[in-house]
Structure formats: structure tokens, C-alpha cells
Subunit: 297 residues, 2 copies
Amino acid sequence: MDKFEAMQRFVLVAQFGSFTKAADALGLPKSSISNAIQGLESELGTRLFHRSTRSVTLTQDGEVYLPQCQTLLAELDALGSQFQRNPNDVRGILRVDMPSRFAATVVIPNLADFIEKYPNIRLKISSADYRVDMIKEGIDCVIRVGSLDDSSLIARPLTQYRSLNCVSPSYIKKFGIPQTIAELANHKLIEYSPSLGNLSAQFEYMDNGKVRQQSMPSSLAVNGTDAYLEACLSGLGIAQIPMIGAESFIKKGLLIPILSEFEAEPMPVSLLYPSRRQPTKRLTVFMDWLQSITRTT
Amino acid sequence: MDKFEAMQRFVLVAQFGSFTKAADALGLPKSSISNAIQGLESELGTRLFHRSTRSVTLTQDGEVYLPQCQTLLAELDALGSQFQRNPNDVRGILRVDMPSRFAATVVIPNLADFIEKYPNIRLKISSADYRVDMIKEGIDCVIRVGSLDDSSLIARPLTQYRSLNCVSPSYIKKFGIPQTIAELANHKLIEYSPSLGNLSAQFEYMDNGKVRQQSMPSSLAVNGTDAYLEACLSGLGIAQIPMIGAESFIKKGLLIPILSEFEAEPMPVSLLYPSRRQPTKRLTVFMDWLQSITRTT
DNA sequence: TCCTTTGTTTGTTTAATCCGAACAATGTTA
DNA sequence: TAACATTGTTCGGATTAAACAAACAAAGGA
């Protein structure tokens, strides 16, 4: 039994939770899958799946074995691809997760270059946007905006997002335009916090390179970028919106930048990938390309 | 072609520097080896060996690929052996390097237990004693006496060697027995230094838990344990010899311990193994067993 | 220059995998 | 409760790939 293929099949079965679906995905008869798993199990001397005809779940050992298999397979993949020096040789599926707006404004417009240079890479861009389990989902790298906390990943800084303080025309009609930080006490902030636990609303701004925060009134807190933007458009308060998301609205006059001398600290945009000994060749060329296009814009 | 097997063959050919020898070692025809290597090469898209009928050497790429293969295979091995819960299931070859004296006095006398409990482990003890390249030689773990410096390895403290200050009867006849540190100025030290670079001879001793060194005359420096012992037996000076090596001679009256209140700092005995994500099951049980026997003695 | 050794090639044998279909087991539904 | 549909396993025939042995070619040593 080919161990490598057996492991691959095991991972697939675990992901699908079904022998039949894994067999279909590989275009093999169910028996091949069944034999492969049995081969693995007898070799390991333990059972990997609880199989009851209606559901296939991992045993305790299987649960341990799955991620190990995945990292080993990924490493093998990386080893096999490292000598592909001709761009045409670089092939395989590359799964990347990034904020949808980043994809639409930065990546997609420049993508023609990349797929021309590496025609045999099949790129799959998803925008689950939130913490996805990279190993479990088989994601090769993710792009994240804001500060980082997941330490099991290697981070590369890509670029920064300037944030603008924005309000809608309807807001100005009601409350006017604040000109100083002091005046913010008479205004409303739309609060953005990924985790809704924070207590007081803070207006963040840079003062000679230092980050400062000013407490101010707020009647709304949201935890999604879309809701944040929409709330600002509806005149519910001041929002500190990344330029990349705001500029089209500013052009149309739907948002008005204010307090331009008190911009918030730029948000870092980072590229994260699992800390393996070696990343795949296709991953390294993609990350290098990403850095090249973010450097120039 | 089974990738793992191909890699294994590649490693073997690289180690032997010969297709024929690798084939013999595996009991396979040369053609199988040849095909496996060719398969690997075509898959990687690069050449792994410079083959001229008289000699087989790694190409630059092969040089890169070899250690990667070795670690990957070791990891695969570890994955495959992790569920072997019954001692009888733990099998495979285990290569250990340790000082010959340690093997003879500590390990071998207790080994019966171990091979009875794990009858399917084939233990290979070598005493190359000096820095061997563990990965290259395929050594699973090594035992070393003294301070450590190789940082790529994980170290486990095992035990400590008490050192005794010894001289031979013939030495006593000539020089007498020193009773204080001060008197050492009128005596001779046999200098032991693994690297013969040190300048002045130092008598090392513990003073209320602190390590102190006393310069003293010396007319001989050696860098091997056997030579060190032999020099002391011949009455050439004072030697600070690990108890384990000295006690048989002391019993026979060939060595006399002196200055027993000024023993040198005990030398740590450590167990070193490569830092892989997971050690093999057989390695973990062996290391655990080693710790258990050194704790009790 | 001849000879021995070594890696590659070739054709044949052998073993393993693949495949489709029949089978058994289990959760669902009528 | 019983018939049904779906899923994992088993089995025999077809196919493919690896193992093997021998012949071949190339390169260093005598």
C-alpha cells in the first residue's frame, strides 16, 4: 500500500466525513478508499474512524493522526515543489483567504500579471474573512487587517491602511462638523469592535506619532465592516474607515472626511501563513508577488 | 511509485554513495533502485545525483533534498509508531551513541530488563563518542558527558558524574599526598581538555557550592579519557577522574583518592536527540527507560 | 589496451491495485 | 413495524506497476 496516497485518502475521508464522497472526489471506487483506510489502520494498529453506515467520525486516535497527516502531506508537497524553477512548472491549487474589499481593490485588479506568469497555478480566493482554521480548511495563506494575535502563524507585513474620519451629509446637517478634539464631546461615535466586549467608545488619533484615544459619546457599536460603513452612511455618527473602503463613497459625496489632521493610526495589513519548515513553491511566489504589488500601490 | 519508498531509497543511495550497495542492502535488484531514483528525479524536475560509473555524488539539489528527506522520513516513522501501545508492538532499529564506559557500566548491566520488555526493538549501541552528525548517520539519540553546546538538539539531563581526585601509589612515593589547596603548588596536574587549546592548568574544586579553580603546575595535557586515566596510573600527576571510571582501579589499589573534601563539580550526563516534532515511540520508551535506570543508581 | 565494476535498459514474471457488482448493516420513512 | 435507501465492506476478474534476471554501455584502474 502506498502510504502517501493512503494518507491523502484518509485526510479526504476525514474532511468529507464519508467514504463515498471521498471516492467520488478522487474518481475512485469506494472499495479503494475502504482498502486504503483499512491498510492504514492495520499498519498503525489502531482504528481511525468510527463507522456506522450513516456517519463516519474520527476516533480519538484518528483525531490525533489527522493534523499530523496534513502537516506531513503539506511538507511533502513543499519538498516536491521546491525545484520548480521555471514559472511554468509551478502548479497546484493555492487557497487564499482575504477580506473581500482587499481582494476587490488590490488583488483582483493586478491578478492578470500573476496568472499570466504562473498559468498552472489554480488560485482560489475566499473571503471567510474571519479566523478560519487554516490547517483544517486547507488554506495556504490569509490576509488580515489589524493587529495580530495568532502566534502559531508566521506574519509578513504587507502594507498599511490609512483610516479616514468620515460622516455622512445627513450627519453634518444635524450635528455640524467638529474642528477640534475637544468638540468631539458633542458628537457621536460609531463604535467598531470585532469582539463586542469593550466598554467605552474611543476616538483614536495620532498626535506627533503617538497614539491617543479620546472618549466620546456613542449610541451604536457594531462588529462587522459592512454594518460599520452602513451605519456611517446613515448618519449615525463618526466612523474611522479605511481609505480603501471609503474613497468610492467620498467621491460620490456620500461620505465626508473630517478632522483630517487627526487620522487614526494606520492599520497594518499582514500576510499570514502556517509555520512549516518550508512553504510550497507556489505559495512563496504568490506571497512575493503580493508584496510586490502592495509595495508599489 | 511509492514516494516514501523512493525517498528511502534515495537516502540510502546517498549514504552508500552507490546504487549497487543500496540495492544489496535492501535485497533488491539494481534496476529497482535506478528506477526509483529516476522516478524521483523526473517528478522533482531536477537531477539528484552526478553519476559517473565509478562514483555517485549528490548534485547541489540532491544536497538540499537529502536532509529534507531524512527529516520527513523520520517524522513519518514517528507518526506510524505513535499508536503502538503494547510494548510488544514497539519495533524497529534504535541507534544510540554513548561513551563506551557509560555503556559498559550503566547501560549494558541493566539492558536485560529493556530487551525483555521490548523484544522487538533492535538496539544498536555505538561509541563513536565524539560529535557525530546524528541526522547524517541516522543516530536516534546520544549520551554525552560534560557541558553541551550543540543547540540543534534537545537535551535531557540524565544524571551526574562525581569526579574524584586521584593519584597512583608511585606518585605518592615521589611527591606525597597534598592535604590543602595551597599545597597543590608543589604538585603536578594532568590536564584534560577535549580541545587542546587551553593555556593554564587548573585544578577545579567546589567550595560551598561555588566552583573554584586553582592554577597549578602541569607537564602533560591529554584529550582522551583513556590517555588521561593511563597517565594517572603511571604516576604522572593528579587527575580528576569520574568515579564511574576510577572506582575499579581504586578497589585494586592502583589509584588513591586524595583531597576528598575538594571534589570537582559533578559533570552532567545528558541525553540528546534531534528536535523533531515527534520522537519515535521506540525512542521515547528507550529514553524513559534510561532515565529510570539512572535515577535509581 | 584490456578488464572489472557500475548504472541503465529490456523483456518477463509476479504481485498489487483498480474496478464493478453483489453483500450486509443501519438509519429513515411510510 | 416493515420496507426502503444509503453507506461501508467484501469478492473475483481485469489491469497495471513493481520485481526480477540478464544483457548492455560506460568509465576508471591495472
